[in-house]
């Protein structure tokens, strides 16, 4: 299909599907970079790139998975430019925190969100895709361009890290303020961007 001119109907379908996934792109981006304004910038950038690349989208496949790949790559590029600093969005967390729909007791979502942002990006994205976005391991592996086993390992490590942090209450106030965490993030980012992410867990 690539390279073929799309019909008006196909373009309309593409636009409709793209519109439908915007809320999910916003949620994924918010989880990745932690700030609403930056996340929305990232989504806008993703929409522009997706539109420009629409000839490469295979109708009938998952628009959400396809656009998540674009968003992820844009995020990694921007991270390398040090644009996103994994800052914590107090507003979102507090709003969710005060609306514990159906929860038996208040959950310290602000702690959870901060802990999430301390994770290396490849583990954070794996956890977001599988644990929040509802993707299967196989789909997450496709989005991240790595092996299924690698995704399982990353999710497992992310889960263990969050369990430990949240159980101990030992959460850095700001991930960027923790120099060790920041160095680890940048190192892992280099590996991911260099295409070595699949060889690391």
């Amino acid at each position: 299909m690539a390279g073929e001119e799309r019909t008006a109907s196909e373009k309309a379908d593409f636009k409709r599907e793209l519109t439908e996934v915007v809320p999910h792109l916003r949620a994924f981006a918010r989880g990745l970079c932690g700030r609403a304004d930056m996340a929305d910038d990232l989504v806008q950038e993703t929409l522009l790139k997706a539109w420009a690349a629409q000839e490469r989208f295979q109708p009938g496949t998952s628009m959400r998975a396809w656009t998540f790949v674009i968003l992820r790559n844009a995020y990694l590029t921007d991270m390398r430019r040090n644009r996103f600093r994994g800052e914590y969005d107090e507003t979102v967390a507090e709003r969710v925190l005060t609306a514990p729909a159906g929860q038996e007791e208040p959950i310290h979502l602000s702690d959870m969100h901060r802990a999430l942002l301390t994770l290396p990006p490849e583990r954070r994205e794996a956890l977001l895709l599988v644990g929040a976005g509802g993707f299967s391991y196989e789909e997450a592996a496709t989005i991240c361009g790595c092996a299924v086993g690698t995704i399982k390992s990353r999710v497992g490590r992310a889960r263990a890290a969050l369990n430990a942090m949240l159980a101990d209450g030992d959460i850095p106030k700001r991930s960027i303020d923790d120099s060790a965490a920041h160095r680890a993030i940048l190192q892992e980012l280099d590996d991911v961007a260099a295409g070595q992410g699949g060889s690391r867990n």
Binding site: K11, K15, L18, T19, V22, P23, H24, R26, A27, F28, R30, G31, D40, V43, Q44, L47, L48, W51, T61, S62, M63, R64, A65, V92, A93, R95, V96, A101, Q103, E105, I107, H108, L109, D111, M112, H113, A115, L116, L127, L128, V130, G131, A132, G133, G134, F135, S136, Y137, E138, E139, T142, K152, V155, G156, R159, L162, N163, L166, A167, G169
Partner: protein
């Protein structure tokens, strides 16, 4: 600290989630959806529910006009 107790109650949700699509709105990339395992939800640690809540809260936010404006501009260019 009560959180320590609740966070440690379950650890299996992410393992199980590969077999449990959480979002019925999602178009599957291919093949039928995997069988659901609703009974596994009770084992989710609270932070896992929180993670989903954070994600879903953003999904359910009203979309800022800037997104529809952008999509309209893109559509108008063709």
């Amino acid at each position: 600290m009560s959180l320590a107790r609740t966070y440690s109650e379950g650890t299996s949700f992410l393992i199980m989630s590969s077999e449990t699509p959480k979002n019925p709105q999602r178009a599957p990339a291919g093949g039928p959806p995997a069988p659901s395992g609703a009974s596994d939800k009770a084992k989710d640690p609270d932070w896992a529910n929180g993670l989903k809540q954070l994600y879903d809260s953003v999904v359910e936010e009203p979309l800022p006009d800037s997104f529809q404006d952008l999509l309209d501009q893109l559509g108008a260019k063709d």
